[in-house]
């Protein structure tokens, strides 16, 4: 009997664990180690953050789902990896520290035959002075990165609306809280949901809503922007996004590295080297992401973390990490199998793998401060990668070490994104977008780097309906209800 250990129970880890168990059956063991007791459909946190959904609408307990699937669930955080074993044995293991199941604080060694790292990111609020400490959100801003953060964000937002109703003009600032952030899409969706809710509440005229981001142009989204088919034109996402912001009276600050947050004020540096301040009454700033901070040790106890993890804390996989300057970047730099190059029984999926480089064109201020979005690896790509890696591990277990590894390069896969503005079935609108491929391939698609037949975006009610369907469909799938395997990632 082989044991697969999956570290992390988010979109990618949950997908990998559940498919692996389905394919492996009871002959082999699948263990999920995650510090969270609940699964969270993160895209709907946006609706929690404006009070359109409750926390309970976007989370469910993992334990009963894993019990039904026959997956061993350990509510614990992984601390270190020992790929050569330890003093007692040569068997690979990880150390974990329980966060629940009435074993809080207990440390355990967990042996594995195959390991999938799907921890997601550390929310690195501490990277920006005043934004928070370590992975803990500070007092001056809010976040929608977790369901609890979103609940808190809504409570703060409703106070802003109450003040606006009382005739007090309010300033709202939404965007990224550091020059190296990703997930601009979440902030993008949140700002337009706030704008929509403010109109519904009759307080839009009392709010000054502003966007601040590290993108060098509006609509970069960490993917270097995209060209989409809109109204018969092939249009840059810059034009698409600027139109959306202008229509809704939301001015923007771009190319900004937020370097300090204090009560009611952010300080930032722009690409041209100038600095500025922006006051706010309410601010939602996405933090930068890093790896969760695993350590790796050799058999003699020496630290080998840097051989397995990149400096940003994400796990090295089969990517080309020495591509060099932007001019040398190729779609083929991106990983296909997500296998660690040294330890062939170790994989990283979702946000946990180290990308070879940015997707957006690198940029830094004249002072040398890097200000560019880092690559998004969430949602649809995370699920597809998790499933492909689960397939590979199952084949390795069943067919041996020479089994064919399944591939899921972000340069050969697309992504669908629906950014809502409101939640009503007949009111509000949503921007529905697809991009194919996520990482542009200028050799295959000279010009825009993408297939413009399948890279498109439009605004309307239809996007709303799709967002509702996705919410219910993916939670249904994650709960492993009948027919769950038929729902694509």
């Amino acid at each position: 009997m082989a044991r697969l250990v999956v570290m992390g129970g988010g979109v990618s880890g949950h997908t990998a664990a559940t498919f692996a168990k389905k394919w492996l059956g009871n002959e082999h063991e699948v263990v999920v180690v995650t510090p969270n007791s609940q699964w969270n459909w993160i895209p709907s946190n946006i609706w929690v953050g404006v009070g359109e959904m409750s926390k309970e609408d976007v989370v469910f307990p993992l334990a009963p789902v894993y019990e039904k699937a026959g997956i061993d669930f350990k509510q614990a955080k992984a601390i270190s990896i020992h790929p050569y074993g330890g003093e007692k044995s040569d068997k690979e293991y990880i150390t974990i520290e329980y966060t629940g199941q009435n074993k809080e604080g207990q440390v355990e060694e967990l042996e594995y035959d195959y390991l999938i790292n799907a921890t997601g990111p550390k929310l690195n609020f501490g990277a920006t002075e005043g934004l928070g400490e370590g992975s803990t959100l500070g007092d001056h801003t809010v976040s929608v990165c977790t369901a609890d953060h979103a609940v808190h964000a809504n409570l703060e937002l409703q106070q802003i609306f109450e003040k606006a109703k009382a005739g007090e003009r309010q300033k709202i600032l939404v965007g990224t809280g550091h020059g190296m952030c990703t997930c601009q899409g979440a902030a993008f969706e949140y700002i337009f949901n706030i704008e929509h809710e403010a109109k519904d509440a009759g307080v839009r005229d009392m709010l000054d809503i502003k966007w601040i981001s590290n993108e060098s142009f509006l609509g970069d989204f960490g993917m270097g922007g995209l060209h989409m088919k809109v109204g018969g034109y092939a249009v840059s996402s810059k034009i698409f996004a600027e139109s959306l912001f202008s229509e809704r009276d939301v001015p923007w600050i771009i190319g900004a590295h937020v370097n300090k947050v204090e009560a009611g004020k952010v300080h930032y540096e722009l690409l041209d080297g100038t600095t500025g301040e922006e006051e706010f009454d309410f601010a939602m700033l996405i933090p930068p992401f890093t790896g969760v901070g695993f350590k790796a040790y050799a058999k003699d106890g020496s630290d080998i973390t840097d051989t397995i993890f990149a400096p940003n804390g994400f796990m090295k996989v089969d990517a080309k990490y020495d591509a060099g300057a932007y001019e040398n970047w190729r779609a083929s730099d991106w990983p296909k199998t997500y296998q660690n190059p040294i330890h062939k029984n170790m994989f990283a999926v979702g946000i946990a793998f180290a990308p070879p480089h940015l997707i957006s064109k690198p940029a830094s201020s004249v002072n040398g401060t890097p200000i560019n979005p880092t690559p998004p690896r969430t949602g649809m790509p995370a699920g597809i990668i998790g499933k492909a890696v689960a397939h590979s591990v199952c084949d390795l277990i069943k067919e041996g070490e020479n089994a064919h590894l399944h591939e899921a390069s972000m340069a050969e896969m697309g992504a669908a994104c629906v950014a809502s503005a409101g939640k009503g079935v007949f009111s509000g609108t949503a921007a529905a977008m697809t991009v194919y491929p996520v990482v542009p391939d200028f050799e295959k698609y000279p010009g825009t780097g993408r297939d413009t037949d399948y890279t498109f975006g439009e605004i309307g009610l239809a996007g709303h309906w799709i967002k509702h369907i996705l919410h219910h469909m993916f939670i249904y799938k994650a709960k492993l209800k009948p027919g769950w395997t038929l729902i694509p990632e």
Binding site: I239, S246, A415, F426, F456, I466, P488, E489
Partner: protein, 53 residues
């Protein structure tokens, strides 16, 4: 002043963009048109999903 023209004067940034007019905005919430777009978007998304697996 038409609604779509109002924001151009509010901000220098807005002045160099395009803002949808009444017809475009109406079509965004027209249930019949959006039902058709819903079908089209879903088909395109399914193609993208199938090409990605």
């Amino acid at each position: 002043m038409k609604p779509e023209e109002r924001n151009f004067g509010k901000n220098e940034q807005f002045n160099y963009t395009m803002i949808p007019g009444g017809f475009a905005r109406k079509m965004r919430t027209c249930v019949i048109f959006q039902a058709f777009r819903f079908a089209v978007i879903n088909i395109k998304m399914l193609v993208v999903v199938s090409k990605s697996h």
